[in-house]
């Protein structure tokens, strides 16, 4: 890794952020011969040096230690990677191409030009090969297998989601995550890109429609400036709009935050099923895209966390954590959120409003997920909302639906997008069909912010495919 010091740098293309959007942008442009500098707010953390899904990982690789919240009724807790490789270093590694119908909706609703599905799917092919996207070659984790069994028993559609992982031992663990620090970032660096970690961009300076300088804070808090010809903002769906707002760009930026809100439960089985460093790879897609079920990380700390809402009634179960696993129900939301950068504050204010339909869907989703768990053989199910009953039989599900209120639930999300939606319809889109901010000459956004709405599947494939498409287009024009 480069460790440049000093207070000023020059480059042809500045890429801000090194996650799924930034790393692919940097690699594509560096390989096309551009002089690229990548800046990353977090540190470079070698894989294997922290336990996946642990509190230590949250401390080192998540923004604000994982304690980030979109305020609302209810508030929605979210997490963002803040490290070299961004979210790809810390997420579940599940990979889903966008659906044809999703691409079509984006194309038509936002008037995205020159956005053929076959081009995107061809890029997906490349990505899948670069990241070794594959299913688990051997045994699945017990928690994943239980989810599969429950869905199969109800006759509900389900499948295994492939991951960008290699499996040296054949079975589910230990998988080797093919994240950005192992794939696209080394490619960018070996093609001459320079990477500055622990550098936070405070703002971009523009002269009329052209940005030319980034003002940063270095690792010791010292001021740094970087001058560039072009800039790609890839800081994620919260911090890309926040940076743009700090730099004086407003308009539609940050107004249409989309997420997949999720609610969760803990299921207790008769046998040990808890594994501490892996998540289930099966998902239940019977109600997709509106509603999907999957499994979450389930270390004992996370099991305790999921029981917190009803601690007095549910705490006795915690000693059985080896027999327990956490599962989630995720919805596509009609609601929208906002990211607002406020003067003088380091972080933006994030808000999100669920609609009535969203809240109803979360409730029926959680009850349906509990039904899957009963069918999977769960002895007890502990839904995560204040006042939830312990579910032991089907009749108890009527209490879940009766007592559920989204405002009493621990709602969280990991898929954030759509804060700088792309498209040529300037009444809806903040960036053009290739990610250039409307009204600017050389400010590009190239991350999850561009997705016009939430894709209903794990979004990393969509983010990478669109980022590579846009970077290639840029390289073709500016070669």
């Amino acid at each position: 890794m480069s460790a440049l010091t000093g207070s000023h740098h020059d480059c042809q293309v500045l890429v801000i952020g090194s996650g799924a959007g930034g790393a692919t942008t940097a690699a594509t442009l560096a390989e096309a011969g551009f002089d690229v500098t990548i800046v990353e707010e977090g540190s470079w953390v070698e894989q294997g040096s922290v336990v996946p899904f642990s509190l230590e990982q949250m401390q080192r690789q998540y923004r604000s230690g994982g304690l980030t919240v979109a305020l609302g009724r209810p508030s929605i807790a979210y997490t963002e990677g803040r490290c070299a490789g961004g979210g790809t270093e810390v997420n579940s590694g599940l990979y889903r191409r966008p659906n044809e119908s999703t691409l079509d909706r984006w194309r038509t609703t936002y008037d995205i030009v020159d956005f053929p599905s076959d081009e995107l799917f061809a890029i997906c092919d490349e990505v899948e090969s670069a990241l070794s996207v594959q299913t688990v070659p051997g045994q699945h984790s017990p928690a994943s297998e239980r989810l599969r069994r429950g869905a199969a028993s109800l006759g509900w559609q389900h499948d295994e989601i492939p991951r960008w992982m290699t499996y040296p031992d054949g079975d589910h663990a230990p998988g080797q995550r093919q994240s950005m620090t192992r794939t696209y970032l080394p490619r960018a660096l070996s093609s001459g890109a320079v990477m500055l970690c622990e550098h936070r961009v405070k703002r971009l300076v523009s002269d009329r429609d052209r940005a030319f300088r980034a003002e940063l804070t270095g690792p010791g808090g010292q001021p740094v400036t970087i001058d560039f010809e072009h800039v790609f903002v890839c800081a994620g769906a919260i911090h890309s709009p926040a940076l743009l707002q700090r730099s004086g760009h407003r308009g539609l930026i940050g107004r249409r935050l989309a997420v997949h809100p999720t609610v969760k439960l803990v299921a207790r089985f008769d046998q040990p099923i808890n594994v501490d460093d892996d998540v289930p790879v099966h998902q239940v897609k019977e109600f997709a895209p509106d509603l999907s079920f999957g499994g979450s990380a389930s270390q004992p700390g996370l099991v305790a966390l999921a029981l917190t809402d009803n601690w007095p009634e549910m705490r006795d179960a915690i000693t059985a954590w080896p027999e327990m696993a956490v599962y989630y129900a995720a919805i596509t939301s009609e609601g929208r959120g906002r990211v607002r950068s406020l003067p003088g504050l380091h972080d933006p204010l994030v808000t999100y409003n669920l609609t009535r339909r969203d809240r109803d869907l979360l409730g029926s989703g959680l009850a349906r997920l509990a039904l899957v768990m009963l069918e999977a053989g769960a002895r007890e199910v502990f839904p995560s909302f204040r006042g939830a009953p312990i579910v032991r039989q089907r009749l108890d599900l009527s209490e879940v639906t009766r007592r559920f209120a989204a405002t009493a639930a621990s709602v969280m999300t990991v898929h954030l997008c759509s804060t700088v939606p792309m498209g040529s319809d300037q009444s809806k889109a903040a960036a053009d069909s290739f990610g250039r901010l409307h009204g600017t000459d050389n400010v590009y956004v190239n991350d999850a912010s561009l997705l016009p709405d939430a894709p209903g599947v794990n979004p990393q494939a969509s983010v990478m495919a669109i980022a590579i498409r846009n970077a290639r287009r840029f390289a073709g024009i500016n070669a």
Binding site: L55, T68, Q299, L305, D309, I318, P348
Partner: protein
């Protein structure tokens, strides 16, 4: 007496509340573990994104006032059981961070905080 500079640090009203609440929820947690957990909670809260941190600080000033007027125990008991928006979040935050930390660090912990063997 040193006046704490932030209401969120371990000596301040938030720290006192976290300390008291955790003692009520996990009474048998060994003192060293208890102290580690409170320190962890305060560290994390100090790293909250700035808008949340400001909100929590403002609430904590109010909590500090209540602690002086109504006493630490009564204030803690109220915050522990209230469902009022925002105020309820304080206890929720302490519990979430605390329980996650305790069971990740010492998975054999019993519901009272006592250290024992886990079921298998």
């Amino acid at each position: 007496m040193i006046v704490p500079t932030s209401p969120l640090n371990i000596e301040g009203p938030f720290g006192r509340f976290a300390d008291r609440l955790l003692a009520l929820e996990l009474p048998d947690l060994p003192q060293v573990y208890h102290d580690d957990t409170v320190a962890f909670i305060c560290l994390r809260v100090a790293e909250l994104p700035s808008p949340l941190k400001i909100g929590t600080s403002v609430l904590s000033y109010g909590v500090g006032l209540a602690q002086r007027v109504a006493g630490l125990d009564r204030t803690t008991e109220f915050l522990r059981s209230t469902h009022l928006p925002l105020l309820a979040e304080l206890a929720r935050m302490v519990r979430s961070l605390g329980f996650a930390f305790v069971w990740e660090s010492w998975p054999q912990t019993l519901p009272s905080g006592l250290q024992g063997a886990t079921a298998s």
